[in-house]
Symmetry: C2
Subunit: 197 residues, 2 copies
């Protein structure tokens, strides 16, 4: 019992395992919560309980939701015939924050990876193929990270969808990016994909 | 609803307010918890609930505990006649991790601060004075931070305890510290407090 009570040790150990937290920040967060028991600790426990008991995967796109289908899959306004393929729900959220994409999503649940032994069967690619016909999809936008595994997965998906237009996010200089700080690969990609002003 | 459900938005907003976390790391932590619902999310909710319903302040030293008095105040082995005065429970935990101090603690709950309008009445100094007689205390070790407010508080406490030996933690070069990286104040303090080899 390093912190007075076993429950407290247990709580700190669990908080310390969350991504982005370590033992030190977990102790700090727990002390902060205890000091504000009614404002922070108990409401947070309730919120976790509520999310834990209601949240599940959308059966269609694997987004996080509280019913069989998520709001995006249920919305008529999002039935634009476009599906953005993302690796993870975090990437879906990032796309939604930009507010530009008006179609639907498909969360793969990972990328093909020879090193981690992730094959097509581990990803939600068959479900994506089913959705093409079911939702009259005309364009599949591959929005995976620009890594080797992301590119491999993009090419594999393009091969599996012969009748559909498959596009991918552009690569190039990020907004606000300075050339001096960019890596060679990004500059090469931006140069190769240069466009007329 | 930026993240699919209102409960989820609420949970992420609350996590983002914890010290050391921001919106981005809160999202990451929440997604991690949802992916490991039975291993992380629900146990964490239980642990928070349990700590929230059991934890309280030791009536004697203001340490965190689950009964009227904490284990340290209850232990006969810690009745050494020494009390270490710390600012916060986090500092008490830091002292306990070093494992060197065998006496009891007194958590002040802050330091005197003219800027933040913290006077002696806001701190637990009267209780400290009560404990001197009640626990046959012979030495009060001031273990406050080496800040202006910490030093002011140390001198104020020393003035309030005329019959007791009041000491404070030594100032100097930290273990593993290199002179080149130390500030002038620390080097001055270390030089003034030099000791014979």
């Amino acid at each position: 019992m390093a912190h007075g009570t076993e429950d407290l040790d247990h709580l700190i150990a669990m908080m310390a395992k969350l991504p982005g937290l370590g033992p030190r920040s977990a102790r700090r967060a727990v002390l902060h919560m205890i000091k504000k028991r009614n404002l922070v600790l108990l409401p947070l426990a309730d919120a976790l309980q509520k999310v834990g008991s209601t949240v599940r995967e959308c059966l269609n796109c694997a987004n996080i939701c509280t019913s069989d289908l998520c709001d995006i899959c249920l919305s008529d306004k999002r039935a634009t015939g476009q599906i953005a393929v993302v690796e993870d729900v975090a990437d879906l959220w990032a796309m939604e924050r930009s507010g530009v994409f008006k179609g639907r999503y498909h969360v793969l649940g990972g990328t093909l990876s020879a090193l981690d032994a992730v094959g097509p069967d581990e990803l939600r690619i068959p479900k994506l193929i089913d959705r093409i016909a079911a939702e009259n999809v005309t364009e599949v936008i591959i929005a995976l990270g620009a890594t080797i595994d992301g590119l491999t997965t993009a090419h594999y998906i393009a091969d599996q969808l012969p009748g559909v237009s498959v596009t991918s996010l552009a690569q190039g200089v990020p907004v606000g990016g300075e050339l001096d700080y960019l890596d060679d690969g990004t500059i090469t990609a931006a140069l190769n994909a240069r466009k007329a002003l």
